[in-house]
Each structure stands twice: as structure tokens, then as C-alpha cells.
């Protein structure tokens, strides 16, 4: 009985490792995809999507609020700050310098995101 338990535990561990590997495989190309394709951030269901957006310097990023509730896009370092965005309203900002730009919704501060400029 003891051996069976150990065996199951080992299987569970290896399954866990596989899941972790699968996760890291999945995350990596996801980030790459953002870097090449995205200049848009959608605000949906009280979250920024994608949460991390990678762009090259000089890119203009546009946020669109698709919620029924207003949101804002506010840099935590003061780099940019939108007015309040009602449903379907947009905010754009051009990132000229490389760096990491964390931001949040100042009305619902649990909503956070980041733009990484390369």
C-alpha cells in the first residue's frame, strides 16, 4: 500500500512538472506574439489584455474600454495618464523610449498592466 502511495506521488510530481513545462512553453511564444503583433490593449471584465504588451520604441499603443464601467489608464511612474474612459472610448500613448512602463486603473487599482518598450 505504501509503495502504491509513493508511486502515485511520483506520478503526480511528474505530471506537475510536465504541466509546468507545458505552461512555460505556452507563455514564451505568447509573449513573442505580443511583441510582433500588438499595439492594442483591450479593457474587458476589469482587466487589461494583454496584461504585458511588448512593443518597439516609437510605437503608439491604444487602449479601448469594452466594459460597461468606466476605467482609466494611469502610469505608476507618471509617464502617462488617461482621462476617464467610458464604454468604447480609447486612449493612445506613443512610447518613444525603451523601458518598462507599469500602469493601472486609478478607479479600480486591482487592474494592472505593463508595456515593455524594446
Amino acid at each position: 500500500m505504501k509503495r502504491i502511495c509513493v508511486c502515485i506521488a511520483a506520478m503526480a510530481m511528474s505530471l506537475g512538472t510536465m504541466a509546468l513545462l507545458a505552461e512555460s512553453n505556452r507563455v514564451s511564444p505568447y509573449g513573442q506574439q505580443n511583441a510582433s503583433a500588438g499595439t492594442e490593449v483591450k479593457i474587458d471584465n476589469f482587466s487589461f489584455g494583454p496584461e504585458t504588451l511588448k512593443v518597439s520604441a516609437g510605437t503608439t499603443v491604444t487602449w479601448t474600454n469594452r466594459d460597461d464601467i468606466p476605467h482609466t489608464v494611469v502610469s505608476t511612474t507618471g509617464a502617462f495618464k488617461s482621462k476617464v474612459l467610458d464604454t468604447d472610448e480609447k486612449f493612445s500613448f506613443t512610447f518613444s523610449k525603451p523601458g518598462s512602463y507599469p500602469y493601472f486603473c486609478s478607479i479600480h487599482p486591482k487592474m494592472t498592466g505593463k508595456v515593455v518598450v524594446q
Binding site: F46, P70, V84, D86, T87, H108, P109
Partner: protein, 319 residues
Amino acid sequence: MKSKDELIHDHNHDGIDRRGFLKCMAWAGTGALCVIQGGVLKSYSLSQMSQWGEKATGDLSFVQISDSHMGFNKAANPDVVGTLKAAVDKINGLATPPEFLLHTGDISHLSKPEEFDTVDQILKNATAKDAFFVPGEHDMLNDDGRQYLERYGKASQGAGWYSFDKKGVHFIGLVNVLNLKAGGLGTLGPEQLEWMKKDVQHLKHSTPIVVFAHIPLWSVYPEWGWGTEDSAQALGFLKKFGSVTVLNGHIHQTMQKIEGNVTFHTAASTAFPQPQPGKADSPGPMKVPADELKSVLGITDVKHVQGQHALAVIDSTLG
């Protein structure tokens, strides 16, 4: 006969059983009448107030309304004017007119002057003489609350906090919707806390205290931002008092919790319901079919609860 649909908050030892709590959750009504009697607060749903008659009398009675979101026009309620008017009608139908109205924020949806104007006009039709406000985050958009302070904060301090006394009860209006930090919750801030500490310092321990603020001053569901970072400090100043009642809005549903000498109460919205904590992907407006909206906003079925039941602790639903 025991009266039904009455909720009693007794600071001594009792509370709300699970059944009562669930009924309470279904109470997405249009407002609550609060009566303080000997330091104990009772709240009644407005939707069935007419049958209370003289029962709802006490040393002091007032009405709490919240989250009018004037200007909201989405599917969850395209007529927030109509539902606020309905709330005022209920207030005016009370057998004993309340002393005053207390609005716990999100008066407007987008901080537009015309939204505040509309609410002011509608509330003028209420028989209650006075109205007291605290701001919600929707009332301080774009200008860090300047407009709000001009309209409602003339007698207030700092970002809009203040206190007043009515018939021996000390009321404290707090602002916890400004200077919110990324990833954080509602915030009172050191300046306001310092003011509050001094405000209650010289009050007698027997003074009943009512604290009102927009975002809950207890941890309802931090994952959705339903709590206040530094509320423990504020509540710490109130430990010496025998009766403390905390009234909040923000979460668009009624919830109660009793902790020691403190009764926490959140009011329903007059505009639209929001989901129970964690029961949806986000805390966005809860859409119900048009013919059911009124029932969602108006149903009142709160059971009379006496002290024989165990206290229901809201935290158990947080997952």
C-alpha cells in the same frame, strides 16, 4: 406575531444566521432605513417599509442610499433616474419621516455636472430635510474631487471628510476613494486617520458612533478591491466605544457583519446590482432581463433575526 423582514443588529451577542444572511443577500433593495434605539442600530428594507408603521421609530432614524450612478445607461439599468425616483418615493412613504438622508457615494457615474444636478433635483423631492454625502470613486474622476468638494464638501476637511452629531449620535464621513495605489484597495491616508483620531478622542465611550464611507471598511473581497487598506487603523480608534456602526456602499448589494462592538453594513445600489463576491469573472454590472430588473432592485425579504443563532461570517464566501 414576529415581524418578518426586519434585521436587528445587536451588539451584544447575536447576529444573523445563514438563512437570514442569504435572504439578506437577496435584498437588493432601493435603500435602507436605519433606526438607532439605545445605541443599537436596526435597518429596515425600504421596499416593505409601509407595513412597518410605528415599529420603525426610535431615538433617531435616517435613510442610507448609495450608488445612484446617475448617467449610467447600459443594459443593467437604462433608467437610473427612474429607480432613484422610486427610492425617493419609498422614503417619502415612510410612516415616520427620517431625520436625514445619507448617501454613501457614486452619486454620479462619470462626475459630470449634469449628473450631480439630476441627483440633487431628485433628492430635493425627498421629505427628509438634510442630506449628507461621501464620495465614491465615480464622483472624483478627472479632477481629484475638486468639483465634488465644491458641491458637497463645504463643511468638510481635507479631501471631504467630516463629522457631525445628531441626537447624541456621532457621525463620521470618510473618504477612501482618492490616491489609490496600483494593485491596492481603498485608502484613507495618514492625514485623514490623524484627523479621525482627534475627532473621537474626547467623546464619551457611551456615544453611539456611525462611520460612513463608500468602499467597505472591512475586507469583503480584496480580489475585487472590495476593502480598505488602512481601515484597521480607523477601526482601532473606535475600540473604546460600545456601539459602532459602519455603513458602506460600492459593492451594490447588501451585506452585514458583526465583529465585537462593530456592525458593518453595505447598502444596495439604487442603479444596478453587482455579483456576489467571486461569483462572476468581474464585479461589473449584473445584467438581468428587463422584466426582472425591478425585482432584483426591489425584492425585500429579510427575516427578523434574534440572538439565538450563530453569527454568519461573510468571509466564508470569499473562496
